[in-house]
């Protein structure tokens, strides 16, 4: 089963990369840009048929490795 994990920095945590890219976009004339946040997407192929069990397991993977709960939020999407 295919699972997508979206990992993003918590809103109160600085994102220097996003800030630099926002500045560069404005430099290129895209002066409508207000903010840029750069996030991460992880795609997994998981063996199994029970979406709830898979979601729970990926949730644990996020807490242990894929995201750093100290500074990141994550969202798990199981594609049925």
């Amino acid at each position: 089963m295919k699972v997508t994990v979206h990992v993003q920095r918590r809103p109160d945590i600085a994102d220097p990369q996003g800030t630099a890219v926002a500045r560069a976009l404005r430099d290129l004339g895209h002066d409508t840009v207000e903010t840029v946040r750069i996030n991460r997407t992880v795609e997994l192929e998981i063996r199994g048929t029970d979406p709830a069990a898979i979601e729970a397991e990926v949730q644990t993977m996020c807490e242990r490795l894929l995201a750093n709960p100290v500074m990141e939020d994550f969202e798990v999407v199981v594609h049925r």
Binding site: P16, Q17, A20, V21, A24, D27, L28, I38
Partner: protein, 232 residues
Amino acid sequence: MKAAVVVFPGTNCEQDAVYALESVGVEAALVWHRATDLSEFAGVVLPGGFAHGDYLRTGAIARFSPIMSEVERLADAGAPVLGICNGFQILCEAGLLPGVLLQNAGLRFICRPVQLRVTSTDSILTRAARIGQILEIPLNSYEGNYATDPATFADLERNDRIVLRYSDPTGAVTAQANPNGSLGNTAGIANRTGNVAGLMPHPERAIESVLGSSDGRVLLESFAMSMSGADG
């Protein structure tokens, strides 16, 4: 005639590049990335560092800096244009050289001397060297893993555009001597006309034996020869 050493915000090897160029007799001046006129310069060096923090992708933001259209103009006019490390990455991103630099195969930053074998002398980077010469020059990069599509790589090889390859101390180009996974052990390449060249190792860090090696001089002397050629 002078060489322009381009400074992007985040560049950090610019002073070393000037010091090294002057040690081989090239007058060099720092030029800020917002400059729009390089007409007083006969050549360009894009030094190492982390232009624009290397954010998004190495060189991705730098290639849009105002100075880059002038760098392209000089390159088209046949002037020597050299990219070292981050400068090489920017030249690739700007399309002045083919290919791309990916993360090192070991996924770690590598700072150590490596052995290079000169495999072509038809470039502003290697014209003073001889084929088969072995040089010890420091590498200092996280994204030094050179890659292209197979057709482009075949074209590079056919046209003798790969000027430096990672080798062992005897000059053998082996998988074991490849520090970062670069395709064909590629450490440095040049364009078709040989006047635009880029390499991942830092020749400016190998110009005095008190610092461990002076093997980088021959590469910078090649650039110096090309500068005087452009002058005349």
